[in-house]
Symmetry: C2
Subunit: 476 residues, 2 copies
């Protein structure tokens, strides 16, 4: 199959049967059997461990060869000294893909370990077996019932994530999930001795189940291939890249982590920009940017209408607008008058930013929603930036629960957004209490269900919006 | 009394009696009676409201004059049209301080309202009454039983906070509280028509109950006085300033908020630097910086030993070190060897950053703590940066609870820090579940109890540490 053909990789995400060799009898990050079961894999799932009879309620086999049926996909959790033997078994069993959770290969810098990795790769290539890893978590794809960790969403969605780090893949998926991200194909490929970013980008570019691509990349092995793949992917859909090892200190760390040579950030950055992808600096920004691409419609421009409770917050929100290069025009006189008639409270600003009640008064959410409706009418506003917090309101003893208020607020924001035709960018500040967390999680989930993006701070929101605008401009 | 004398303001924080005029019968941000009662004020507390018999269990008076005893401190919650009448009553009653929660004065930009503010001030000055505000929350000082909001810590501490915004003062106090900050004197002074930043800085400089000063300032009225006051305060203790209106957009917002002319950030910034204070850009940074000054001992240098779980996190932590200008030297061979003997796990880096188990394995916290002990022994490390998360572990069904594990981890970190003599800077990433929040809050509280600083991200930690080092250097 030619480089970058869709079918060259698609079979990898649709195994009919999986064997977990060296399956852990304990729960935790390495318990692939439990995680795969939990994800609802409907093919055959075979734990392999000579020391166990049964794992996660499934019959356990002493070795790969002992499995009676065919095995498409092998997950290797065996210690390093067993991998060559396992590879022989995989060849004999005509396996299609081997994922090495097993670590201790080239990333250690050890010569023997590096040679072992090369031998394994060669043996696999000769037999037509694709290798994921080593030193990685492998695949998470809810639509196919694949998972590398427990407690990930079981419903699929349009976000693909390609990562050299398993921990970072998990962190991305968990933190993105509470903000409404759901996933098509997540690949933790570690040392990337065979399958890695370039081929995966080409695949994701064509994958109809993927509409946004997130990457955590520590190093590139084939720069020319990477550029071709990145151009193809970025032309097809938004691609957001977090580069591990962007500093000299980080670059030393990538060498120990996945054996990657991080290379020059300047070169990498130029390549990303040229391809039309978006580079971010932090895991939090990667989640934010994907949330923005997933939930923001095409923006008409940079002009924000800021609505939220608290004069001081409004000032700081305005500073974030100013610092990010976005705009916050003064509202026209007629809009100001409408707001003024409607919120006669002394000390309330109606120019932009607009202070509003936070939804706990006797009129509930109505003042806040009406305020947003009026601001959205303003012809010099391209989108609303609504900021709130669920730490304070959560402390009230009486009235509806924080979860009820937060959920209703989010749902109504969705309705107002639809009516007004102006995007609403939501911010719920990080809570400081358990009850505040419950309210915040409810708000985030309902905001996402309503099709709106939600961020942890105005700064995070403005950064993501600004990057979407830059990306839009680069494509027009 | 001369400008800046301690006793010119100290009486303000020690009223023997308080009257809340226009006292709210509802709970919420404006319920000063309930908040003051909750804070354990042990003087006389008089609600005044002609429409109520009793508020928060206290006898309510129809007006100020009807109160039989002496009144030191008046909190005005009356509508704007009643403030002149109230001022007359305050003069008649020989009140010492009036705090105007009442808003709608000069911050509206309205000519009449501005003139009213001036008249009120003049009337107060003629009668020797000090004015806090208008358009603000007033005082929070647990040692004196003063509070402007419910649910603030009732135990005092060494952090003073001076703020033109009541919402920002509350946000600072609540978010700081979960990270171990406790407060001496918090003043929300709004429009600052009388008492404001300069005099308060001079007071805090001398206040024996204050060892760190945080400020949220939108505008300065008397630049020369501000410089004298800031120099005096910053010479005595760390002063951290968040400037609202640092951008053109933010500056327009401060005009509507507290009627402040934000002025040039360049000038402000130069003044702050010259005085030896520290300027930050965001509320989150203000909290972070005060946490750092409160809980970090004098640092020997910029060299971090990074310890935490997850290779990808370690890489990103290293990038934050690199980006912040801190250092992360490779550990000496003997330390690496010790770590290697001790953590033989393949794929685990021991050079710096050092990967470690996260504390959920069969050996519990021991591997993590031993790792930190060994890294702290390294002569080329000035402090440990330990990063963790309580979202993932919280999902385990068996074993000790997340709150138990997190609390024990924090306590043990405190012990290791003491034994090793090297500061430990802790990072607990923002949780994504309610259980994770419970664990994170327990970790934060116990870390602070153990005398260590804790941050929400490695980036936040590196920024705060770097600023402490710069501040230290400026004073040596």
């Amino acid at each position: 199959m030619p480089e970058g053909s869709f079918s060259a990789l698609d079979f990898m995400f649709h195994p009919r049967s999986i064997a977990v060799v060296g399956a852990s009898t304990q729960d935790g990050p390495g318990s692939f059997v439990a995680a795969t079961k939990e994800m609802g894999f409907n093919g055959d799932l075979y734990p392999v461990n000579p020391k166990a009879e049964e794992i996660a309620g499934l019959k356990c086999y002493p070795n790969l060869t002992a499995i009676p049926g065919h095995v498409d996909h092998v997950i290797s959790s065996v210690p390093l000294r067993f991998v060559e033997g396992l590879m022989d078994e995989c060849v004999a069993k005509a396996v299609k893909v081997v994922h090495f959770f097993t670590a201790g290969f080239s990333e250690t810098g050890d010569e023997d370990a590096t040679a072992l990795e090369a031998r394994i790769l060669q043996r696999a290539a000769d037999a037509g077996i694709r290798v994921i890893g080593p030193n990685c978590m492998g695949l998470y794809s809810p639509a196919s019932g694949l998972s590398f960790m427990p407690f990930l969403p079981t419903d699929p969605g349009p976000v693909a994530m390609l990562s050299q780090s398993g921990a970072n893949a998990g962190e991305f998926c968990r933190t993105g999930a509470v903000r409404g991200l759901r996933y098509s194909k997540v690949v933790s490929y570690g040392n990337g001795t065979d399958v890695r970013e370039s081929e995966l980008l080409e695949y994701c570019a064509e994958d109809p189940e993927t509409s946004v691509i997130a990457c955590y990349i520590e190093g590139i092995t084939d720069g020319a291939h990477f550029m071709r793949a990145l151009r193809k992917a970025a032309a097809a859909k938004p691609v957001v890249i977090l580069k591990g090892g962007r500093t000299e200190a980080g670059s030393r760390a990538t060498a120990s982590h996945t054996g990657s040579l991080a290379g020059s950030l300047q070169v990498f950055d130029a390549a990303v920009r040229q391809a039309g992808a978006v580079r971010v600096d932090r895991m939090e920004e990667l989640v934010d940017q994907v949330v923005a691409f997933r939930y923001l419609p095409k923006l008409a421009g940079p002009r924000a209408g800021i609505v939220g409770g608290g004069g001081g917050y409004s000032v700081l929100a305005s500073d974030e607008i100013g610092a990010s290069g976005l705009e916050m025009p003064t509202l026209p006189a007629d809009i100001q008058q409408k707001l003024h008639d409607f919120t006669p409270t002394a000390g309330t600003s109606v120019r932009n930013p607009v202070d509003t009640s936070v939804g706990w008064g006797p009129d509930g959410l109505k003042p806040m929603l009406d305020t947003i409706r009026i601001v959205a009418e303003s012809p010099n506003i391209d989108y609303i930036l609504y900021h709130t917090s669920y730490s304070w309101g959560a402390m009230r003893a009486e009235g509806p629960s924080i979860v009820e208020v937060a959920s209703e607020a989010a749902q109504k924001l969705g309705e107002v957004g639809k009516e007004s035709g102006k995007p609403i960018v939501c911010v719920a500040r990080i809570p400081t209490t358990e009850m505040g967390m419950a309210g915040t999680l409810a708000f985030q989930q309902n905001v996402a269900d309503a099709g709106l993006p939600v961020f942890n701070s105005v700064r995070d929101a403005t950064l993501a919006v600004q990057r979407v605008l830059t990306w839009q401009a680069s494509r027009s």
